[in-house]
């Protein structure tokens, strides 16, 4: 009990300090932390991302009209994720890669885990119907990552959701780990190889060396959708492996 009181006090005092520092009365000098909703984009680097104007040669960018703006993605988050800061994304993919690997190393059971109760027959039937919808939606999402709010990560997660649903609804279901590993490795390698191709063609690692096309078209944004496909496949296969590992146990 005493512990909880002390912890509470610490947290409250800490909170008071955070609040007072962040939202201090504006008497002192210097730039302040912006109030909620009052972020000023023109003072941030993202202003240039939004205007697709980092290289400084674009005026207005219009949906389905402007050709070859520096980043052809209609979704500006995507243009940051897979273009301006693609290097972060490579790292992010690596994070998932290595944690899935770690889980696999620790839980390297051969047979799959059975739940205490048999699966629901209705659920099993339903999953065998909706899995197709979920899977194709997942693919749709990562292929359209540069156009719609989505991308490799949500898309990949959709694929893995389908896998997880199969696991939860069918005691006999087991993914082919090897093929997923192969897919994962291939997708990762291709991401890197595309990065190195950028280095070869444009002089920069992860350089967008393909034409970016018209903003808003499916075939636009250069390597962005291609990378997002790799990311989607990689994330999908990694999460699926993660699920398989979690639901495995030492062979009986």
């Amino acid at each position: 009990m005493m512990k909880r009181v002390i912890a509470g006090l610490i947290v409250i005092v800490l909170g008071i300090f955070i609040f007072t520092s962040l939202y201090a009365p504006k008497s002192s000098e210097g730039k302040f932390f912006p109030e909620f909703g009052k972020a000023n984009l023109s003072e941030r680097v993202s202003d240039k991302f939004v205007k697709k104007n980092v290289t400084g040669d674009n005026g207005e960018v219009v949906y389905k009209e402007t050709k070859d703006p520096e980043s052809g993605s209609a979704n500006m988050v995507t243009s940051i994720v897979v273009n301006y800061r693609s290097f972060d994304t490579l790292g992010e993919v690596t994070v998932l890669f290595v944690s899935a690997l770690g889980v696999g190393l620790l839980l390297s059971g051969k047979s799959r885990m059975k739940f205490k109760t048999p699966p629901n027959f209705i659920l099993k039937s339903a999953v065998r119907v909706i899995a197709g919808v979920i899977l194709i939606t997942g693919v749709y999402i990562f292929i359209h990552g540069h156009l719609t709010p989505g991308g490799g990560f949500p898309g990949g997660s959709m694929i893995a959701s389908a896998v997880l649903l199969f696991y939860l609804s069918d005691d006999e279901f087991k993914t082919k780990m090897k093929s997923f590993k192969l897919l994962e490795g291939t997708a990762g390698s291709l991401y890197l190889i595309f990065g190195l191709l950028g280095l070869a063609y444009g002089g920069y690692f992860l350089y967008n060396f393909l034409p970016t096309g018209t903003v808003g078209e499916l075939f636009s944004a250069g390597i962005v959708p291609i990378i997002y496909i790799f990311v989607g496949l990689k994330v999908g296969s990694e999460l699926s492996n993660l699920i398989s590992d979690f639901l495995s146990e030492e062979g009986k």
Partner: protein, 114 residues
């Protein structure tokens, strides 16, 4: 202000880390903290009356007020990282459970090898 809530979430996460002794609860506390941080990140990019930073019919880069897309991109990364860490943490919890038969830190006893 909505940011207050996010900071309070972070503080709740810290409170959880300070008080909980159940491994799963610790991981949950960590996740609460992470959610707080992630929401906070998104909130710093919010612009009053701004729209989602996606071009579609009728939206041009010059005639619209966008929210900052960069924090959203960062948060995407942060979330995925959080998922990875959580998965690993839960795996370790499972291993600990298999080893000690309990999820309570206090019941595992001290491991000293000297």
């Amino acid at each position: 202000m909505i940011q207050y809530i996010f900071i309070i979430l972070i503080l709740i996460g810290i409170y959880g880390l300070l008080t909980q002794k159940n491994l799963i609860k610790l991981v949950v506390a960590l996740n609460v903290l992470e959610v707080g941080v992630n929401l906070f990140i998104i909130s710093v990019g919010y612009v009053n009356d701004g729209v989602a930073p996606i071009l579609f019919n009728g939206v041009k880069t010059t005639n619209s007020l966008f929210v900052d897309p960069l924090p959203q991109a960062l948060v995407l990364t942060a979330i995925v990282i959080g998922v990875g860490v959580t998965a690993l943490a839960l795996t370790v919890v499972r291993k600990l459970y298999a080893k000690y038969g309990t999820l309570e830190l206090d019941e595992m006893g001290s491991e000293s090898n000297d």
